[in-house]
């Protein structure tokens, strides 16, 4: 966003709905982040056995009947919960909203693995006779499923779809909403990301085979980005959806504004299936900053992507050093240290947990850093305890994923003047 951006192209966040392993609304979640409360627990998964995971305990019957829960998917239930919480939080009079002017843009890392694994397990009990394969499989596994369940639940007749973007998906869904508002395709965007990944054994087994699945005697200590003794990812479920509106629309109805999206960027490493690329990540951050019309010195908080893998953390720190190295006042934190890696929801949850900093001026910490890895030894990292800042005006949110997908958001504290 630049000074000559017309008001109708300015996009603001007016509602937040979320479920995280350590909170089922923004205030509970924020309190957990400030208190250092983890959401990682022991978890049993098919074939793999005991693992660690971030598990959500939101009330799935708050917005769905039992039959709807049974008919749909876990990602659908998570998304419905988040969407309806966001709409309520935004104070929108839903009855009066033209439903054909609402769009649902939901980031996902993957979808369908849970149901496919379940069905294969089910027919294994019947000698793999496919007559026992569920007729629900296709509607549950189509890639738009979680967004479609939101549309069904809220009677939304505008566009709905998911954005497949690996672990950059939370930001990617958000960016799609932003763009569709600017294109006047919709007047209200419900966007962000969701993940049901802990219900598929495959993701645990694959990370284990890759040597990238976290293990620790104390589940709350398992997710430890930037720590020398980190040993991999804690897989989590969760969701976070925002309501985005054009600034004049939000102001006309007197909405509470959490922040204004002033910069965004997505790019691609084009170098490897799984290994990140610090140069491309840095380019992505700089592109987002340029679009925001600000410099790295203007950023107060960087919400890092780091997942507690050996190379991933180091590469991101190289990128952060390249962009922010001359500005040690910038505070870098990490949400995965509390809740693990919520995959498609990660970027959205990580942004949401930092938004209250615009009001309280606090950068929540990165917990579980007993010995900061010298290779991640940035002066910026907020280690173990929250940091009170003078003020927070700009937050930069990183979210990266496999196949070299990078995404960055820059969000500014909203000032009406």
């Amino acid at each position: 966003m630049t000074p000559d951006t017309p008001p109708s192209d300015r996009i603001v966040i007016t509602g937040v709905g979320l479920t995280a392993p350590n909170g089922n609304d923004l205030s509970e979640y924020r309190a957990s982040l400030l208190e250092g409360k983890s959401g990682v627990v022991n978890y049993e998964t098919r074939y793999v056995g005991e693992v660690l995971a971030g598990v959500c305990d939101f009330d799935d019957l708050r917005y769905q009947r039992r039959k709807e829960v049974r008919r749909g998917t876990r990602a659908g239930s998570i998304s419905i919960y988040c969407a309806r919480e966001a709409v309520t939080d935004a104070g929108i009079d839903w009855e009066q909203v033209p439903k054909d002017r609402v769009g649902v843009y939901l980031g996902i890392t993957e979808h369908g693995n849970v149901e496919t694994e379940n069905e294969i397990y089910e027919i294994s009990q019947f000698e793999y006779d496919t007559k026992f394969w569920s007729h629900h499989h296709n509607p549950r596994t189509v890639a738009n499923n979680p967004a479609g369940e939101v549309a069904l639940s809220l009677g939304i007749t505008g566009p709905h779809y998911t954005v497949g973007a690996a672990c950059a998906a939370g930001n990617a869904g958000f960016i799609q909403g932003l763009q569709m508002l600017r294109l006047r395709e919709v007047d209200l965007a419900i966007c962000g990301g969701a993940s049901e990944s802990i219900h598929t054994f495959g993701i645990f087994a694959s990370f284990a085979s890759q040597g990238a699945l976290a293990r620790h005697d104390d589940p709350t200590k398992a997710s430890r980005p930037f720590d020398r003794d980190r040993n991999g990812i804690v897989v989590s479920e969760g969701g976070c959806l925002f309501t985005l509106e054009r600034l004049p629309d939000a102001q006309a109805r007197g909405a509470t504004i959490y922040g204004e999206i002033v910069g965004h960027a997505m790019n691609t490493d084009a170098t490897d299936f799984v290994l990140p690329n610090a140069s491309r990540q840095a380019e992505c951050m700089r592109l987002a900053l340029n679009r925001a019309g600000v410099g790295p010195e203007d950023i107060d908080i960087v919400s890092s992507h780091a997942t507690a893998t050996e190379q991933g953390d180091i590469e991101e720190c190289k990128a952060l050093a390249a962009v922010f190295g001359d500005f040690p006042h910038v505070s870098v934190n990490n949400t995965k240290s509390f809740i693990g890696h919520a995959m498609g929801a990660a970027g959205a949850l990580e942004l949401a947990g930092n938004l209250p900093a615009f009001q309280d001026g606090i950068a929540h910490a990165t917990i579980n850093v007993d010995q900061l890895d010298p290779k991640c030894g940035l002066p910026h990292i907020v280690v173990n305890s929250p940091r009170q800042l003078e003020s927070v005006n700009l937050i930069l949110n990183n979210s990266f994923g496999m196949l070299g997908i990078n995404s960055v958001l820059v969000v500014k504290r909203f000032e009406s003047a």
């Binding site: 009947r65 039992r66 039959k67 049974r70 008919r71 007559k131 026992f132 569920s134 007729h135 629900h136």
Partner: protein
């Protein structure tokens, strides 16, 4: 299984498929769909559960017999006569 046991088996399946419905007042002579919210996918769940739990195969042409509880039980009696009730 006798007709009463078959009826209970159907009630058990419906309890799982339409968990929000009160089945205690179900009229066995009236179409399921007139009494409870049961769409085509739910109906296929009944067929699937009979297949999974009792290995009963119901050809699509015979679905018409499963409109009411009475019709369903009458249709299933010869197919489930030799099945032991799980209870």
């Amino acid at each position: 299984m006798n007709p009463e046991e078959i009826r209970q088996a159907i009630i058990d399946i419906l309890t799982r498929i339409v968990p929000d419905e009160d089945l205690s007042e179900l009229d066995d002579t009236v179409s399921f769909r007139e009494q409870i919210e049961l769409d085509s996918m739910d109906f296929l769940d009944i067929v699937m559960e009979l297949r999974k739990q009792y290995r009963v195969q119901i050809p699509e042409d015979d679905y018409v017999h499963l409109d009411t509880m009475d019709g369903t039980v009458n249709y299933l009696v010869p197919l489930m006569r030799d099945i032991q009730s799980p209870a």
